[in-house]
Symmetry: C3
Subunit: 348 residues, 3 copies
């Protein structure tokens, strides 16, 4: 159950460097590669000749070539050529709209004619020289919505990430959740607390005292179909918190692009955008490594939670106030799903 | 097909030391831990909040805490607390009756009100300082009843364990099987034979001649739901065999607690209780290692036998006199199953 | 969908040296071993006593003994003996006709009474001292017919085996395919080309110039049920090609015995028979190693092609002229399948 008429992150540019990439997204087996003019293309990963995956082939003169018998496929899904063959009557394969932007390849798995580039959210940090980004990719064996729940309720940090970003004050601070149009925002502010290890390190990087009280914030933004961007940070206590002058704070955006693979698995593109020391690649690497460990801690929990839910499919889960972020996000997803269903039934 | 109203071995105390243990027993996912006063508790391994396995959590102040969002669960399956939440309306999860006795944790996966501690078999050897016990745990991918069959027909030792405890005289000696109430006993006595390697070693440990003829016995006791205890031993030939004076014999009890996990897999708690040199931990370790190897030899046979039976589900297997132990044990199991079915239909 | 009334390669003699071998062929679990007089026997791999696989047993005095409880099984599927048991009433298990010939064990998985040794194809190279053979076995997770397609359309060499036997002239040369009775032959001749690396090496072994133009040929023979024998070679250009005098050429036969295991997996016995330097075991080993690498390159392609076909079962694949070899071979297979269906319906 995932909306198909939406932009999802498919991969990063390094994954299609020099060779095509096969990846299943929203149930569709796709191949990604750089076609004519270096433009990224996405096609069904299925050669119309004998069904071989095109992703096992290669790119020659900016065209995708099947690695089995040399069929040359156009980025529109029409066969261009094949040794000694007339290809005009060959059946087409699906092509998928693609955008390369913000350091990611985005794909629209649904109806091509509805793919509007304007529907891709604007990510200011990804275009500004004041920001740096580092991240990675995990394959997680659970429904992508369990990951949305996870990220829209950060009280789990106290337990799952107790040695890095968790602290009991997260549980104790009230949370406010609201939906504005398609966006869900859930916020938590903690005042006059001691920073947990991850943030002590960030304070140090910013030349701020790490052992003095801080104000800390977490503002999670859900954007359809399944992106979660979390403004996080700490400021020297009493300097205005989230609104403090930059010299008093260390802050960043946790970036989570969650792309369904099947009903019970997804691709998790995680990362962090920061607006301090953006020109320091060693810092980027250090943060990336730390964050990679932290996000790895969620994996076992989510995959075993999925197993439990599959074993007891009839059980209703609780929806507490701390779950409001996930609950409201799922409502937005459900609305998208309903719209797609309705559109299909009108066509049918 | 396993009786649920019965005491099964769930785990050993070392497995719940300092952290909860998740284990599926008779189809139920359970979590085991030491709760208030150090008393072992068993609950459904399913947090009522979001379905996370409670076994991924931890024990704090003798209470189980969910590792995802900090829900504190009582050993009765009622939520005790959760940060910033009123938990009174939270749904309960199942709790399972548990007994810690004889060095094992026993669980009753069925109806709580029928769980009578008196139904736990008495194991005299486990409470006597004259006896020592060593054992281990294997996960075996076959119906637990194939393991019962295996242990109630020791002619397999000649073939599966030919280098340790097997010898052709086992096949050649007649076997007597009888059911007394719920207990099935199958016995075999071999007179004036040469001991196989395992028993030569035991004779040596007891200061007895290892190369002279012995009388050997095997008395297998099946006790419901699926425990098999085997009195085994050798005595210097002509001294009375099973009834010989202790100074002439080396004997022990092979202990097998067989706990279904699913219809086609089980937990196999194997071990040996001996009443010679009980204070010698090195001897315990040596026997444990030898026995671990021997019982590992059964695993491939049983798992492939299970595969064969699943591939040819309609084939009838033979029931020979040597199989009488398994056949009669299955009859006891079937009687338990019928009683449970009947009780359910009366309720329904 | 595989013909069962046919001779398939089951294994090679070294695989049953000293111990029985369990292998599933055409959906039947079989055990192979050397029985009375060293004659190979094939039986169902299922002990009539308790369903244990007989392949976990051993051979004693030229008879198969079950490794679980010592049942001694005859090569006709009738139990010979069992310790302390009368075995006359034991149910029989299936036995399968077997022939040992040409360095292989051949089995007939279908109706015993139709198993005619005369239906085994004659392989002259396997009986002649002028030829040497080396080969290996791969387990491939795809329908055996995808392997037949692969071998009956060698244009894939240009892509899958580009560094060894592939070259663009294969794609460019016309291919001629014809069916004669049960045999399908697809041929390709390339004149005045430069040999690819594998053939340069072969020319060198034959004392011929490796950098001068050659004529190259590939003549693929499909023989039911699923054998593919490919005459391949190169000759110094202009000396008559395929018909050139032996002193001017290097040639061999690629040998492919393809034995279905399940509907979507098979055993692939690959090898090469050559009629140059037959007494050179180092050369045999070198060729075997090279060929093993080459045939390993097909595996990923075929297994992922199978996954794609299973995911999109309704898609029609193309049948181009280059596919004629596979298409016509499948027609022969389909005819065999139809005959078996018809024979069954007459019986029914």
């Amino acid at each position: 159950m995932f909306p198909k008429n939406a932009w999802y992150v498919a991969c990063t540019p390094d994954e299609i460097e020099g060779k095509p990439l096969g990846r299943q997204i929203c149930g569709e087996k796709m191949v990604f590669y750089r076609g004519p003019g270096g433009k990224v293309a996405a096609l069904e990963d299925f050669c119309p000749h004998r069904g071989a995956p095109l992703s096992l082939g290669f790119v020659r003169d900016e065209q995708l070539v099947c690695g089995y018998h040399g069929l040359e496929m156009g980025c529109d899904g029409k066969t261009i050529s094949m040794p000694l063959q007339r290809v005009r009557g060959f059946p087409c394969i699906k092509s998928f709209p693609v955008i390369e932007r913000y350091g990611f390849i985005w794909v629209w798995p649904g109806e091509k004619e509805k793919a509007d580039p304007a529907k891709l959210h604007h990510l200011a940090w990804a275009e500004s020289p004041d920001w740096a980004y580092g991240g990675g990719l995990y394959h997680i064996k659970c429904d992508y919505r369990l990951m949305v729940d996870n990220l829209m309720d950060l009280t789990h940090e106290t337990y799952v990430h107790s040695t890095s970003i968790g602290q009991k004050e997260i549980d104790e601070a009230p949370v406010i959740t609201k939906t504005e149009g398609d966006e869900v925002v859930t916020s938590r502010f903690m005042e006059n607390i001691i920073a947990p290890p991850f943030w002590k390190q960030a304070l140090r990087f910013n030349g701020l005292p790490e052992d003095e009280p801080v104000d800390r914030w977490q503002i999670c933004h859900f954007l359809p179909p399944s992106h979660v961007l979390i403004e996080v940070g700490v400021a020297v206590a009493g300097k205005g918190g989230y609104n403090a002058d930059p010299q008093y704070k260390a802050s960043s955006i946790v970036v989570d692009f969650i792309t369904p693979e099947t009903e019970t698995s997804h691709w998790y593109f995680w990362g962090m955008a920061r607006n301090f020391k953006p020109q320091d690649p060693e810092l980027t690497a250090a943060i990336r490594e730390g964050q990679g460990k932290i996000f790895g801690e969620d994996r076992e929990m989510l995959e075993k939670q999925q197993e439990n839910i599959l074993k007891y499919p009839d059980r209703k889960l609780l929806m507490l106030n701390i779950d409001a972020g996930g609950v409201q996000s799922r409502r937005v997803i459900d609305r998208y799903l309903a719209e797609e269903r309705e559109a299909r039934s009108l066509v049918g």
